[in-house]
């Protein structure tokens, strides 16, 4: 019984029973499959990771976002009148997360590449762009930059997928992707 020490003092070189060897091999091979799947998926999985990050103070980030919003504002949307911002194609787009909104709404051009900057002003939020698989944690004091190139025009909603408090379920944002030169007629309701 395994609870007692092995009878042979040098047990390492004792032959194993066939079933134990088979069991070990199966478990080991499956472990290898899972391990290398992670590496392979990192390469082919198209996961939209951020590979650029900086430390930033929330108030500095808020100023930058507000400055960009003021400079590139093209309209307002919805009951709250949230500004819609059309950053320069190929440039930097800023969005911040705070309790409980994604601010501002962005209007991006299809086929152009942007550096989307994300940071939070208070605590952890989750940036989840629907219906894509872009999904990233947004922390205060850290500015994450995603290099994105929208390839399909339409409306992309942002939902917060890290629980952040009583208003978490209301924390939604929006990105419009338009044809180059096109725009959306934003109507306040």
């Amino acid at each position: 019984m395994a609870i007692f020490p092995p009878t042979n003092k040098n047990w390492w070189n004792e032959p194993l029973e066939k079933t134990e060897i088979v069991w070990i091999i199966i478990a080991f091979l499956w472990g290898m499959v899972m391990f290398f799947s992670m590496i392979i998926w990192h390469v082919i999985g198209n996961q939209n990771l951020s590979n650029e990050a900086y430390r930033v103070k929330p108030e500095v980030y808020a100023e930058r976002t507000e400055a960009a919003a003021e400079k590139y504002k093209v309209g307002e949307e919805g009951d709250s009148g949230i500004p819609v911002v059309h950053p320069p194609a190929g440039g930097d787009a800023y969005m911040l997360a705070r309790l409980w909104e994604w601010w501002p709404v962005l209007e991006l051009e299809k086929g152009k590449t942007y550096r989307l900057h994300l940071s939070s002003l208070d605590w952890l939020h989750g940036f989840s762009m629907q219906p894509t698989n872009i999904n990233i944690e947004v922390h205060p004091n850290y500015e994450m930059i995603l290099t994105i190139a929208p390839d399909k025009a339409g409306i992309y909603d942002i939902v917060c997928n890290e629980f952040c408090g009583i208003g978490h379920h209301t924390m939604v944002g929006r990105i419009h992707v338009v044809e180059p030169g096109g725009n959306v007629n934003y109507v306040n309701k």
Binding site: P5, K9, N10, W12, A53, Y54, R55, V56, E143
Partner: protein, 56 residues
């Protein structure tokens, strides 16, 4: 539990295989189980985050 035939004979010179010495040492295993993931995950992660540049 330990019985006389399991006790090492004082006269034996047979060397114990290295892997057996590792696997028979619970405190070494405990140390490795804490140190290896601690270094490869925690320390690596903290150093990575601490070295992030300040946003321009």
């Amino acid at each position: 539990m330990a019985s006389p035939e399991n006790q090492p004979d004082k006269g034996e010179r047979e060397s114990v295989p290295f892997m057996q010495r590792v696997m028979d040492n619970p405190f070494l295993l405990l140390f490795l189980g804490v140190a290896i993931p601690g270094l490869l995950y925690l320390v690596w992660g903290v150093v990575e985050v601490a070295n992030l540049p300040i946003a321009r």
